[in-house]
């Protein structure tokens, strides 16, 4: 009753194949976009930016990237942290080498560099599958972190081995460095998130996405119907790494400002992004956002409730946080193995029939 498609007729093919064919969905999408772009910048402060919005937006891009590779193309990757590090270090080298060039361009170029590296490490996927590929990408993770720690050129020979983002502006507004304004940084990241999601959505419903999904569902069958596995797999690696690289560059330049590769881009990060994709829903754009939101917001919310609200000791709260988040992950995966996105899909199906299911 509240959510229905009766009377929503399509008279053109384009109208029928649009991203949100149901009118209510479309309105919801425009509403969320309007709130995110127009309302949030007015009320955002430093705490909400740095503790909630920035990690949420940036992890969403990383999850989108990994979802293309793992969710759509079926290639398990544990190298996300390493590829984010490539994006971060590429961005750092570009920012320091070409200080006059626009920061947004640097971030996009970092994405392309990461795409090249990702395709290189994706080559083994042509021969090996499943767990074995996961191990090969794990090697990429460790190799890349080791490389950025080992070769001083990557961190411009700084004494501490850290990279730190110099101040850069976009149209006169500071985007990186300490003296930024919350709304400018937020909008900057939001543009990248919306653009990434838009590109991902349209890639995955086009011929390229269909090829990826064919490879995912059964690679031999896909080959027989004329999908070139070399192209499909490498394009998935490249495009996935492109988004992961952008998220890594944003993570370093905009969010943290200073990065130590072993700590920030370690194996934990790879698992975190993989969990986001699995919990959110493999092969779903919405799932990437839901997964990122779950993994970023849940700990912050629990911490604020337990420590700020109930006044519990911080260590007890931190331990409980692990248990609750872990328990919720198990719970959600038992209730809906296909992730939060599937949960939303089922809810929608039910809502369309409600209150007369028969």
């Amino acid at each position: 009753m509240l959510y229905r498609e009766a009377g929503d007729f399509k008279t053109t093919y384009t109208g029928d194949s649009q991203t949100f064919p149901i009118r209510l969905d479309r309105w919801g999408y425009y509403l969320i976009l309007a709130v995110a772009a127009l309302l949030v910048p007015l009320i955002i402060n430093d705490y909400w930016l740095n503790a909630v919005m920035l990690p949420l937006l940036i992890y969403a891009i990383a999850a989108l990237g990994l979802n293309i590779l793992t969710g759509y193309c079926g290639q398990v990757s544990l190298g996300t942290g390493g590829f984010m590090a490539v994006g971060a270090y590429a961005c750092y080298k570009l920012m320091t080498a070409f200080p006059d060039i626009n920061i947004a361009i640097h971030i996009v170029i970092s994405g392309f560099i990461t795409a090249a590296v990702g395709m290189l490490f994706g080559l083994p996927s042509l021969r090996i599958k499943g767990f074995y590929l996961a191990v090969a990408t794990l090697a990429a993770q460790f190799f890349l972190v080791w490389l950025f720690n080992r070769v001083p050129w990557f961190y411009n020979y700084s004494a501490s081995g850290q990279i730190s983002a110099p101040e850069r502006t976009l149209m006169g507004f500071r985007i990186t460095g300490p003296e930024t304004q919350a709304w400018a940084v937020y909008l900057f990241c939001l543009v990248f998130v919306v653009a990434s999601a838009w590109i991902c959505r349209n890639l995955t419903r086009g011929s390229m996405g269909r090829k990826w999904m064919a490879i995912r569902d059964m690679d031999i069958a896909a080959e027989i119907i004329g999908v070139n596995p070399l192209r499909a797999k490498l394009s998935a690696f490249g495009i996935s790494s492109f988004f992961v690289g952008i998220s890594g560059a944003l993570f370093f330049a905009v969010y943290l400002g200073a990065v130590e590769v072993g700590e920030v881009f370690g194996i934990n990060k790879s698992f975190l992004v993989l969990f986001m994709v699995i919990i959110g829903g493999l092969g779903s754009i919405l799932g990437s956002f839901l997964g990122a939101a779950f993994m970023v917001l849940m700990p912050v919310l629990l911490k604020n409730v337990l420590v700020g609200g109930l006044g519990w000791p911080t260590d007890l709260a931190a331990h409980l946080e692990f248990m609750i988040v872990g328990g919720l992950i198990v719970f959600f995966l038992i209730v809906e193995p296909h992730g939060l996105a599937q949960l939303w899909r089922i809810t929608k199906e039910k809502l369309r029939l409600w209150p007369f299911p028969h």
């Binding site: 740095n50 300490p178 700590e263």
Partner: protein, 427 residues
Amino acid sequence: MKKILTTLALGATLAAGPALAELTFPSLSYRTGPYAANGIPFADGYADYFAMLNARDGGIGGERVNLIECETGYNTEKGVECYEATKGEGALLYQPLSTGITYQLIPRVSADGIPMHTLGYGRTSASNGKVFPWVFNYPATYWDGASVAIKYLLDENGGSLEGKKIALVYHNSAYGKEPIRTLSELATEHGFELIELPVDHPGQEQKSQWLQIRRERPDNVLMWGWGVMNQVAVQEAANIRYPMDQFIGIWWSGSENDVKPAGDGADGYKALNFHAVGSDFELYDDLEEHVWSQGNAAGAGDQGGTVLYNRGLYAAMIAAEAARKAQEIHGVSAITPAQMRDGLEQLEMTEESMAELGLAGFGPTFSASCENHGGSGKAAINQWNAGEGRWEVLTDYIQSDQELIARLVEEDSMAYAQENNIELACQ
């Protein structure tokens, strides 16, 4: 959520009576994760000292101290979250107890105008107050530590380290890499060979590093470790029967937690320290009377007298004394972060002032100035006595090579100033 809760809490206090101005000190602690063994005693000491001040004197200069604890897990992302969550509540001073988080916060505190004190950790070149007006790292820095260790070894070896091999086992992070620059300078100066052995976070796996030590047989091993890495390193050294008295840790690798797991094998292990050990101070009577016996001890309350508990006390004591100094300078009791900075900058620690606080002979004497935020750079060598289960102080405070360190600090901080277009203060 946070906002609502804060507003509610604020509303409740306002309703309860006249508004009390408070001095807010956030404690970015870590009681969980691979570094918890070292984070807990420090956080307990920090909290107990302020609890004692509140109970005994009613705070500092009549203002109660409001300690906000925030768990970082030694993780930089959580550290940033903690910083953003607490800075709005009028935080006067940050002490993150993590070099990684310090690097994150240096630009942020400088932009927000909140002082940060990194007690013997953090960025060494921040001791140049001209470039880093908001950051303090007295009484000693990592480069002081490296210099003191080498000076001690020079002493032990009759004044020459020519042809010796010295290995550095370090946490592969900003923290562990910090001393390399000084040590390599000293290596060329004194003619010893420096072997660098990085250990990756969290440091539970060090077999290959110690195998290399067994093969290369360095005359001495220095260690820049933290958390579980320390325990593993001491255990591994004992396993390969490396002579423990040739093994020297920085002050962050010299607590009871680091040596006890290795049992008798750790006997003779040395570590630097810039404050006294044990609980033989008058202050401990006050702690007992006002905090512990009241059941208000932070954490499990079992850390009293340990090295890192004492360091937590020391950190809190410096914060409290700086706040007192700031109140004195500005003649107000409810100080602002900017006034707190003045207090830190004019802080002077003398034997008398420490004795007055019930901490006679607790740390080295030093005085800060606008240019010098790094203190006097003195540290002593302690040695672990496994039989009696305590640290023994081997030497007096040794003065580091100030000339060399001043030169290195100048180089590094000026490079930072240039990179970030910082106008020099103190002109």
